[in-house]
Subunit: 346 residues, 2 copies
């Protein structure tokens, strides 16, 4: 039984045809794809792909929450409804984060016991990828949210990156447990206690900015504001460095000769650190998961997003997260209208 991924072809910078091409690449590797979007722009459709004509796009809507509720025939709404109905196991959006987040929350809904969904990105640092969570879904959080982000990110790192026992760190401004904002200090203690109880991941304490790419932690937990700034800063600094090294390699005749010789190895390196290799941001904490590629991704990144979404389904990221949170007593207590006894549990 192949895994089915619902894909929104709207919202990508390179257009729906590029998304369709990425979907074809993923289908060739055994994933069943249901492709939503303007069918007439897809061209000939590859085997293993089912097309649902859904030309309406809310990818650029200024108010994504309102648009996702008011536009039932928007492609991302249909995609998330297909997942909610069980017609697909996961979704991949065309690259527009806001509407994907809004439609998924509204239609797929939070998983039981989850406070807040979050966006996780596995950053391809050569030799030791690091998964940052949250990278923008929640600009303001409480300590218990950060605790759950740690569990979500760790389950993802287990399944998608194959890390048996992920080391989870908390982004802060000093090594000591007392460093950081009051929120971070409280989250530090809570993560330490809950992860000790959960037993499938290790909490390695605070991670400072310079340690994010050092391999000290496999998962770095932070609020969506700091995480978004950090992620984009990493991209910006890497790109700026590569650009500057290109400049350096044309600063003299000698340097030019060196740059020419180094070029193939540098291109290979560039490939390794290419954000497209990670597939995009994983939307975690819902009943089923989604992957949101960057808007500028090419077919390569889209195909990777679909393949990794399928891998996450296969490895049951959602179920693993729930089990680990349950074992650690870190699930959100049921509402008062439910069973009062569960409210009192930690």
């Amino acid at each position: 039984m192949p895994i089915t991924v619902a894909v929104d072809a709207n919202g990508a910078d390179l257009g729906p045809a590029e998304v369709a091409a990425g979907a074809a690449d993923a289908a060739q590797q055994g994933v069943r794809v249901v492709l939503f979007g303007p069918a007439e722009e897809f061209g000939e459709v590859a085997e293993g792909i089912e097309v649902v004509d859904a030309p309406v796009s809310i990818a650029k809507a200024p108010d994504p929450v309102r648009a996702s509720r008011a536009t039932p025939d928007a492609s991302i709404v249909l995609v998330t409804r297909a997942v909610a109905a069980g017609d697909a196991d996961a979704f991949v959006s065309g690259g527009s984060t806001g509407p994907a987040l809004a439609a998924a929350l509204f239609n797929i809904k939070r998983a039981t016991g989850i406070h807040r969904p979050a966006l996780a990105i596995p950053v391809p640092v050569p030799g030791h990828p690091v998964t940052i969570v949250d990278v923008g879904a929640n600009v303001e959080v409480r300590p218990e949210h950060l605790v759950q982000f740690g569990f979500m990110g760790a389950a993802l790192a287990q399944v998608v990156l194959g890390i048996a026992r992920p080391r989870v760190g908390l982004l802060s401004i000093g090594e000591e447990a007392t460093k950081g904002t009051p929120l971070v200090v409280e989250a530090h203690a809570a993560l330490r206690d809950r992860m000790a109880e959960g037993g499938t991941f290790d909490f390695v304490g605070n991670i400072e900015g310079n340690e994010v790419t050092s391999g000290k932690a496999d998962v770095v937990v932070t609020d969506g504001f700091t995480g978004n700034v950090a992620l984009k800063l990493m991209e910006g600094v890497s790109e700026e460095m590569l650009r500057q090294i290109r400049d350096v390699a044309s600063s003299s005749r000698r340097a030019k000769a060196g740059g020419l010789l180094l070029r193939p190895a540098l291109l290979e390196f560039r490939e390794v650190i290419d954000p497209e290799s990670a597939g995009g941001a994983y939307l975690l904490g819902l009943r089923r998961l989604g992957v949101v590629p960057h808007g500028r991704f090419s077919r390569r990144g889209i195909a990777q997003a679909i393949l990794l979404a399928a891998r996450a389904v296969e490895g049951d990221v959602v179920g693993r997260t729930h089990a680990a949170l349950e074992a650690a007593h870190a699930l959100r207590p049921a509402r008062l209208s439910g069973s009062p006894s569960t409210v009192a549990s930690p």
Copy 2:
């Protein structure tokens, strides 16, 4: 009349003698230095340097605030007192931020109308340095603090980097004025209004993580938590990239030959982006300013810190900041015990 800088030789990773060597280099360029620290470790002292034997160090004190109050003979306490007494125009600490901050706040005191002092770092991005403020003095802030940080950073950029009309941006997670935490959204509006009124700097709106090194703004304003994470992340990513490019340049015989040819140009580049060239973090918002080099700096970075502290005094960063804040009606109103009329002013 040469400018006098009081320097604390304690706290540097490489020891007091390295700080003394840096002081000698700065003195040679015309700055008068009063060097506090363990005199017996300084060796022969260069011309233009006055030594005050102050062997007691609180650089590693676990509670810097308490230590700076309880240790009147600590070198950093004596340094900041010398500045407060007018015996020196500015100070440079040996590299330990906490005690320098605590002692300076206690002894030199906030400048009139300043809510909170802040730490600013001019990051040496080739072609377009960017000054980040705050990089760690205030983990929690209010919008009016961020406004003042913008003015402080801009005055510093004018004097130390020679930027006639600095462009000030606010670190956030989207271009729109409505993006970010409620704090950031409020600070955006306040910075826009105040800078329009001040008239010496330009507010260029929100700066996303990937734009920090792009040259879009000369000054990037943020809270001390995000700023500290961002600064260290930039350092970490740059170092990781250089390390990885070194690896790339030994990955094959061809790459090795290229690396060898490129080496001199890369070393020159490394020199340009070396944090030591910026002298360290500037402590702004006090009656007189201080520079806190990184603990690991060599004599080069220490000398640079002393020279740039002198340049900041010469260019009157403190006076410029005050004048600009006053023109923008962004000074903190006087306390109720003062003149009630100033409390009502905007």
